[in-house]
Symmetry: C2
Subunit: 203 residues, 2 copies
C-alpha cells in the first residue's frame, strides 16, 4: 500500500480543513497516512520570525482569514478565530505524539474542531483531557506520557526531521519518495503523487 506523511501544527489555520479532509482523500486513493504532529516555532525562528507570519504581516493575515473562511464555507464547517492567535500548541502536540494510530488522528481532529470550529483555547490541560476522553484515551495516563522526558525529546526530534526534509509550513503532505506538498490546497496533488509513485514500484 502506498503511504504518505501528514505533517501538521495545531496552531496552523490551514491544518484545520486539511486534518478534516486528509483521511477520506487518502482512502479514495489507497494511500495510508501517518499523522506527524510538529511545531512550526523552530522553523519560523530560523527565518527570524517570533510570531505567526500572519500577525507579522497584517495584510497577509487578513487575506489568510478570508481565504480559510471561504475554504470552510465550501466544506460546510464552522470557522471561529481563537484568542490569542496563534494558540500555544506545545502541549497539544506532545499529547498527539503520545498517542498512536487512530487515537492520534481522532484526537488531532478533535483539537482542530475545538480550536478553529469553536474558537476554544487548546493550551489548557482540562480541555485536552476532555478531548482525550472523547477519543477513548485515558486522560491522566496520556498527559503523563505526553510530558515525559522521552516524549519531549521525541517531539524535538520530529521538529528537526520536519525541517530536514523540507517542511516549510503546515500542513505538509510528504510522499514516500520525499516529495513535499505544502498547504491544504496541495493535499490532492500530494496524495495523487504518493499513489502514483507506489504504483511504479509495486505493480
Amino acid at each position: 500500500m502506498a503511504s504518505a506523511e501528514f505533517w501538521y501544527e495545531f496552531a496552523s489555520t490551514y491544518s484545520y480543513p486539511a486534518a478534516l479532509r486528509v483521511a477520506s482523500l487518502a482512502e479514495e486513493r489507497g494511500v495510508s497516512v501517518a499523522w506527524r504532529p510538529f511545531l512550526l516555532g523552530p522553523i519560523f525562528a530560523a527565518q527570524g520570525w517570533r510570531d505567526s507570519p500572519f500577525n507579522i504581516y497584517p495584510a497577509k493575515g487578513r487575506y489568510m482569514w478570508r481565504d480559510v473562511q471561504r475554504t470552510c464555507d465550501a466544506m460546510g464547517v464552522p470557522l471561529k478565530r481563537p484568542e490569542p492567535f496563534p494558540q500555544p500548541s506545545l502541549l497539544a502536540a506532545r499529547v498527539a505524539l503520545a498517542l498512536e494510530g487512530d487515537q492520534r488522528s481522532n484526537f488531532s481532529r478533535q483539537v482542530y474542531i475545538a480550536e478553529f470550529g469553536q474558537g476554544l483555547p487548546i493550551a489548557d490541560r482540562t480541555t485536552l483531557a476532555a478531548l482525550l476522553a472523547t477519543c477513548g484515551a485515558d486522560p491522566v495516563a496520556t498527559l503523563e506520557r505526553a510530558e515525559s522526558d522521552a516524549n519531549k525529546t521525541l517531539l524535538k526530534a520530529e521538529c528537526a526531521r520536519a525541517a530536514a526534509i523540507g517542511v516549510v509550513g503546515a500542513p505538509c503532505l510528504v510522499a514516500e519518495d520525499g516529495e513535499v506538498f505544502w498547504g491544504n490546497d496541495r493535499l490532492e496533488q500530494g496524495l495523487d503523487w504518493a499513489a502514483r509513485r507506489r504504483a511504479r514500484v509495486s505493480p
Copy 2:
C-alpha cells in the same frame, strides 16, 4: 458578462503558469478578464522586504521552485530560472501598461514565456522590443509611450490600487465584488466566484 481583474507581476514565478492559463479558464466560465500589470516591490517594501521572500527565506525558495516545476510539468511547459532572480520587472510592467486589450495580454504571455520558459532577461529594451514586434505592436512608439511621465504615474497608481484592494502577492484574481484570490492555484476558484456573483445580479 461577468468580469474579473488579473493582477500580475513579471518577476513572479507563479504568475507565469497563471498567465498561460487564465484566458481559457475565464472563457470556459464566461468571464471577461482585465489584465492589470503591477509591481510587488512597494507591497514587499511595506512588509520590510527588499528582495523576493523566496530569496530572503531560502527554504521557501527551494520549495517554491520545486512546486512551480511540478506545476509546469503537469502543464507540459518548460521552466528555466532566469538569472538574476527576481528579474527587474519595471520596464516590462510599464510596456504592458502602455498596451491595451489583446496586445497587452499577448505581450504579457510572451514576456513570461521568454523569462521563465527560456530563462531570458526581461529588463533589456531589445528583448522587449522584439516581443512587442511579435505581438503586432510598434516597438519604438510603444517603448516611448511606456516611458512617458503619464504612464509612469499610471503604474504607480496601479500599484497603490493593488495594495488598497488587498492584493498581497502575485498573481491575484479579483472578482467584481472585490473578493481577492491569491495564487495560480486559486484561478479556478476566483473565476467560479466571479461567474456566480454575476449570475446573481443579472439572470
